[in-house]
């Protein structure tokens, strides 16, 4: 009867062998020529440039920037309302958060983009207006809980020290608590940013103009035009080129955070 360590080694060996066999089968069974023709056509690929970057990616980033800035503002307001001693503020904030976290982002975008203008006879200004607002509203709901957790994670002693120096509650919040809260929640905040960036792909439902077309719609339009899958691969690569550095930045921030709290 082999020892447990020998058994573990056998299992590992087995897993490696199975993986290699699986990959080997894939390599042989795949029709590489057809794959390349349908998804990696160099001509079509390079035709997408520079517009895939100068228009599509640029718009994606603009929507993300506006959406995130708005989301931060809304999220901070909601977090403060959730922490307020005034009960109606707490309930209103809780309701908002429940609703917009419970709805798919797509529905919220449709609501802001179509339902709102019809209901209130008002159009959100700016070329990037409706899309950015919708994204901000959704992001705000998610950020609210993150920001609230960050504020509550700041040690109570900080507020006590600030108040005992004579600072008002809002002075203490602005200069002492909120800056520290944001440092604490930088990793989840960056995660939220990446999620928001991906959600921009939902903005197509608002109808796109040549001016505001974002990355995913750009890719899908090009696929329809060329009857080829290459634009989707190109778009996927551009998305990854943006999100991968961001997620690496998050990991780096988390490591720095751990080091900072350890040395304190």
């Amino acid at each position: 009867m082999p020892s447990s360590r020998q058994r573990a080694r056998l299992v590992r060996f087995g897993v490696y062998a199975a993986t290699l066999l699986g990959l080997g089968w894939l390599a042989i069974a795949t029709d590489w020529a057809r794959l390349q023709a349908n998804f990696f056509d160099p001509g079509i690929f390079w035709d997408l440039f520079p517009e895939i970057l100068t228009r599509a990616a640029r718009n994606t980033l603009i929507f993300t920037a506006f959406g995130f800035t708005g989301g931060l503002a809304i999220g901070l307001a909601l977090a403060l309302m959730r922490l307020s001693p005034v009960a109606p503020y707490r309930w209103a904030a809780a309701a908002y958060i429940e609703v917009f976290r419970g709805l798919p982002a797509l529905i919220t975008i449709v609501l802001i983009g179509f339902v709102l203008p019809i209901a209130l006879q008002v159009r959100v200004p700016g070329t990037y207006g409706p899309g950015s607002l919708a994204l901000a509203i959704v992001t705000g709901a998610y950020l609210a809980e993150t920001i609230r957790a960050g504020i509550e994670a700041v040690p109570k002693g900080q507020m006590e020290a600030a108040r005992s120096l004579g600072m008002t509650h809002s002075q203490a919040m602005t200069s002492i608590i909120i800056p520290q809260a944001f440092r604490i929640i930088l990793p989840p905040l960056t995660n939220e940013l990446v999620l928001l960036l991906k959600d921009t792909s939902l903005l197509f439902v608002l109808g796109t103009t040549d001016q505001t077309i974002e990355l995913a719609k750009f890719g899908r339009d090009a696929v329809a035009e060329t009857f080829n899958g290459t634009p989707l691969v190109a778009v996927a690569l551009v998305y990854l080129a943006i999100t991968l550095p961001l997620t690496r930045a998050v990991a780096w921030l988390e490591r720095r955070q751990k080091r900072a709290t350890r040395d304190a």
Binding site: P155, G157, Q158, E160, A161, A162, R163, S164, L165, G166, M167, T168, Q171, S175, I176, P179, Q180, R183, A260, D263, A264
Partner: protein, 248 residues
């Protein structure tokens, strides 16, 4: 401020947390320039009492008078009153995202509306007083516990308070760092600062305090000169507490 008016006066002070009565009627007056040490077992309410003085805890009954002024009501400008009372905490509570200089000037500028120049001058003066001028641009995380606490004391002093509250200021320090902080506190006392000190350091109480107050289970059991309370306590509870503390 008249010579016979108390700097701090606590009248029939009570504090309840939920069902737990922590303070059961405290009467205590601290005159200007006096150093009062509060001693007692944990749970006796001494920290709660201290924190009631600047209303970090709100008493459930009783009155608090600072320089004869009742600070208990909602009409009282509590923020203004707090600038006259400096507080030093067990866990220092320095602002970690600010340098030592910024820690010392932020309240001076925001609350006392001093100019940056004046505030910085003041910061340098008080840092010199606690012996840490060279650390002025460091962040708190680079300082030892004793240094952080001395900076915390400087931060409170920068506001030119009339009185200082110390809540177990040395309890979180490694033993070899306690001395440097007690030294600063002693110097403050000798300079005539009105001080209320919650402490376990009996040596400090003996040498520096004008009065020692022994508390147990929410009441003042005994109070008097340090030699009397620490040397020949009248009450059995006081004796038992001191025996437990010194039997190490």
């Amino acid at each position: 401020m008249g010579p016979d008016r108390a700097a701090i006066e606590l009248i029939a002070l009570e504090k309840r947390f939920g069902h737990i009565q922590v303070l059961r009627g405290i009467d205590l007056a601290v005159t200007a320039g006096e150093v009062v040490c509060l001693i007692g077992p944990s749970g006796s309410g001494k920290s709660t009492l201290l924190r009631c003085v600047n209303r970090l805890e709100e008493p459930t009954a009783g009155r608090i008078l600072i320089d004869g002024e009742d600070i208990g009501g909602s009409e009282c400008d509590l923020d203004r009153v707090r600038t006259r009372i400096g507080m030093v905490f067990q866990h220092f509570n320095l602002f970690p995202h600010l340098t030592v200089l910024e820690n010392l000037t932020i309240a001076q500028c925001k609350v006392l509306k001093r100019s940056r120049v004046t505030a910085e001058e003041k910061a340098r003066t008080v840092l010199t007083r606690v012996g840490l001028l060279e650390k002025i641009h460091d962040y708190p995380s680079r300082l030892s516990g004793g240094q952080q606490q001395r900076v915390a004391i400087a931060r409170a002093l920068a506001m030119d308070p009339e009185m200082m509250l110390f809540d177990e200021a040395t309890s979180a320090l490694d033993p070899e760092l306690v001395g440097e902080v007690l030294g600063v506190m002693r110097a403050l006392a000798e300079d005539g600062m009105t001080m209320m000190v919650v402490t376990h350091e009996m040596g400090f109480a003996r040498r520096v305090a004008d009065r020692v107050v022994f508390m147990d289970a929410g009441v003042i059991v005994e109070k008097g000169p340090p030699d009397q309370i620490l040397g020949s306590p009248q009450q059995e509870r006081t004796r038992r507490f001191l025996q437990r503390v010194t039997d190490r």
